[in-house]
Symmetry: C2
Subunit: 269 residues, 2 copies
């Protein structure tokens, strides 16, 4: 559910918003290895603004059409705050859906694309190189489907790497070590020269909608071929370990570093 003033600004580009509202749902399907099929859209608006609706719909349907999704229901109503609630339904063959609970000690931890760009775009709207990461994220649908039978556990990064990987650790009852320098991030951070901001964005920034997954080390060649085939970087950032569900992040010298857990929807604003 996306609420004006919280998830997007009143003046947000409606076409990008239509894309993003569906994309975040497709990202959840991708994280389970599901193929997107149907969507329902509930929309509350302050008034029936036809220009806004036309652009919003164009953005939403461009993405839906790419995956052959059908809009099969929903609701429209009025609210002083624009509110968008999409339910996406997908299909996955019995027995091969990906869950958070499957990670095993010894697994590699992988992440697609780059992390931290969306959070940086929120903090520094003038950096054009990362704006699309925030406003028009690309759900990793093809990757999710191809991870069936390959990944042991998967999740999408919506609330930040530390928090979302933390969900895998809790559900799988395992620990993890992540090597901070190996976490892929946009080049824009180099020019910025603000290590604290960079760390907050890369480890704890939300809204990137990349997939984090774990797989056995002997599958590395397959992951590499998949990366080449999909033309999507897949980076190995750490290892799953036996023990407490705790995430340790190490710097270049192998020293543990502090990090924020992630985004809390009900934390004081």
């Amino acid at each position: 559910m996306l609420v004006e003033g919280r998830h997007f600004l009143p003046q947000a580009d409606p076409r990008a918003l239509g894309h993003k509202a569906l994309a975040v749902n497709l990202s959840d399907l991708a994280a389970m290895g599901a193929a997107p099929r149907w969507a329902l859209l509930a929309l509350a608006l302050p008034a029936a603004d036809e220009a806004w609706l036309a652009d919003f719909s164009a953005g939403l349907f461009a993405l839906a059409d790419r995956y052959g999704m059908e809009l099969i229901g929903g609701d429209t109503t009025r609210s002083p705050l624009r509110t968008i609630c999409i339910t996406a339904i997908g299909e996955v063959p019995a027995g091969v859906a990906l869950f958070r609970a499957g990670a095993r000690a010894g697994d590699d931890i992988w992440v697609s694309g780059e992390l931290g760009g969306a959070a940086l775009a929120l903090l520094r709207p003038q950096i054009e190189a990362v704006a699309a990461r925030l406003h028009e994220p690309e759900p990793r649908v093809e990757l999710g489907e191809r991870l069936r039978g390959l990944a042991h556990a998967a999740i999408d990064v919506s609330d930040g790497l530390a928090g979302d990987l933390g969900h895998i650790l809790e559900r799988s009852q395992v620990g993890a070590v992540v090597h901070y320098p190996q976490v892929p991030r946009p080049r824009a951070f180099e020019e910025l020269g603000d290590p604290q901001l960079e760390k907050d964005c890369v480890l704890s920034g939300g809204d990137d909608y990349e997939l984090v997954f774990t797989a056995a080390p002997e599958r590395r060649p397959e992951v590499a071929s998949l990366s080449a085939e999909l033309r999507l970087p897949l980076s190995r950032i750490g290892t799953i370990q036996a023990g407490e569900p705790r995430l340790v992040v190490l710097d270049a010298g192998g020293k543990p570093i502090d990090y924020r857990r992630g985004y809390d929807h009900f934390a004081p604003a």
Copy 2:
């Protein structure tokens, strides 16, 4: 999608609200003859109010459990206005789902229960006899399932009889005559003695969540048995006619009467 200040008051009883938020979705499933199976709940709240959440959940799950529904997903987030969006998913055997488009000239028009009570409760909150109609409506789930193969067309009355029956007429490309005195309504209207208010509530009031359906006249005995079996009044209120998709409402003397079409979500408040 239910929005605070529009669909319910800030001080609304959270238990009744949890019931109603799911009930309105079950009503849509019932109108298609579907058996409820799964639900997704997206909830936006100004703060994580545990007492409110406990009561809301109790109301929602009491109804979900009655039909063996599982809550399989959703979202929680923050918004200054409490906002509830439920997606309900049901099952119906192939080929027997009920639609708005199936009404045929000569069909009887039937309605379950009584109409106008919810609208009256909104206008006269002090009349206890109708308060539950507004705050804790009963979705006609069993009736909907039993209408498979019996009704030609069906819809639930969420925006008022005139408007919702109008949807059947438009989709089926037929007309209809409804006999106003035959439309069942709560006794509370008798004591009120306000014919204009009564007509507005009974013909154009929303939120009753009864089913309106059409069926061939030779099925009258079956409809009567079904009514007895379900202990639910089913009243024959008119006839589908060939021609323009227009609804004519007749008074006791057979004279056409004026009525409001129903509720427009984007009409000036």
